[in-house]
Symmetry: C2
Subunit: 118 residues, 2 copies
DNA sequence: GGGGATTACGTCTAGCGTAATTATG
DNA sequence: CATAATTACGCTAGACGTAATCCCC
């Protein structure tokens, strides 16, 4: 499951036309069309009714929309959850011959933390 | 953003070893390793500490885990939201010469619904 | 004919699997 | 040495863009 397709769905549902939504997403109209087709194929349902004046949500699309919004919000929260932690220090330990290095390394093994190089 | 990587993350975080998680996901150990690397690259953070006995969560990984669970649950709800709606009828209107067809077609234009053929 | 979406097609990147490599205990 | 993860490499499927096509006002 790809979230880019879900974001495409939401923007197209809001704007009603691929031509408006596609530039916003940094892709072409054709790519947006294929994203929606791919999403519909994945879900096994038709999300939009295609008209020569744009796209309108089907009942499936209307049912999917709120869940899609919740989904992208959850994704944004998940992305924000990393990197926001205050990093204390960053120490590279390569020489085990000196006592402080051993002490730091022991602490490293006892309490693993990210951004260590080894 | 790809949810398969998030599901891989959760299973590896639970089981602690790629070898156990990979078959569960229907992929090889190497593919699981690359999925995690891809996810970490996407997030810009290291989620696991690699050891010769398996993988352990870093602080970033611990912070990401609950959001990841919420994310996959939201995805499952979103997928279930389509197709569960009760379908009432399905009518193909091709002949505009008869009055009932016109009436149905007008209703169609006023209130689009999925599963129409045109 | 004009605006809008789709299809066709070439290209390019991402993801997987098999096999070989590295690293730890 | 055994175990577990990584890297190398070839392959296939998916995604994008350009160009051409279809469809309804």
């Amino acid at each position: 499951m790809d979230l880019d397709g879900v974001r495409t769905f939401l923007l197209v549902a809001e704007l009603g036309r691929l031509q408006d939504a596609a530039p916003e997403l940094g892709i072409t109209q054709q790519a947006a069309s294929k994203r929606l087709r791919s999403l519909e194929r994945r879900l096994g349902a038709t999300l939009f009714t295609r008209t020569p004046r744009g796209l309108r949500l089907t009942v499936d699309g209307q049912a999917f929309a709120p869940h899609a919004r919740e989904l992208v919000l959850a994704a944004d929260r998940a992305v924000r959850s990393v990197g926001s932690v205050d990093r204390a220090i960053r120490v590279d330990v390569t020489n085990r011959r000196i006592a402080p290095a051993v002490a730091v390394e022991d602490f490293h093994r006892a309490c693993p933390i990210s951004n260590w190089t080894s």
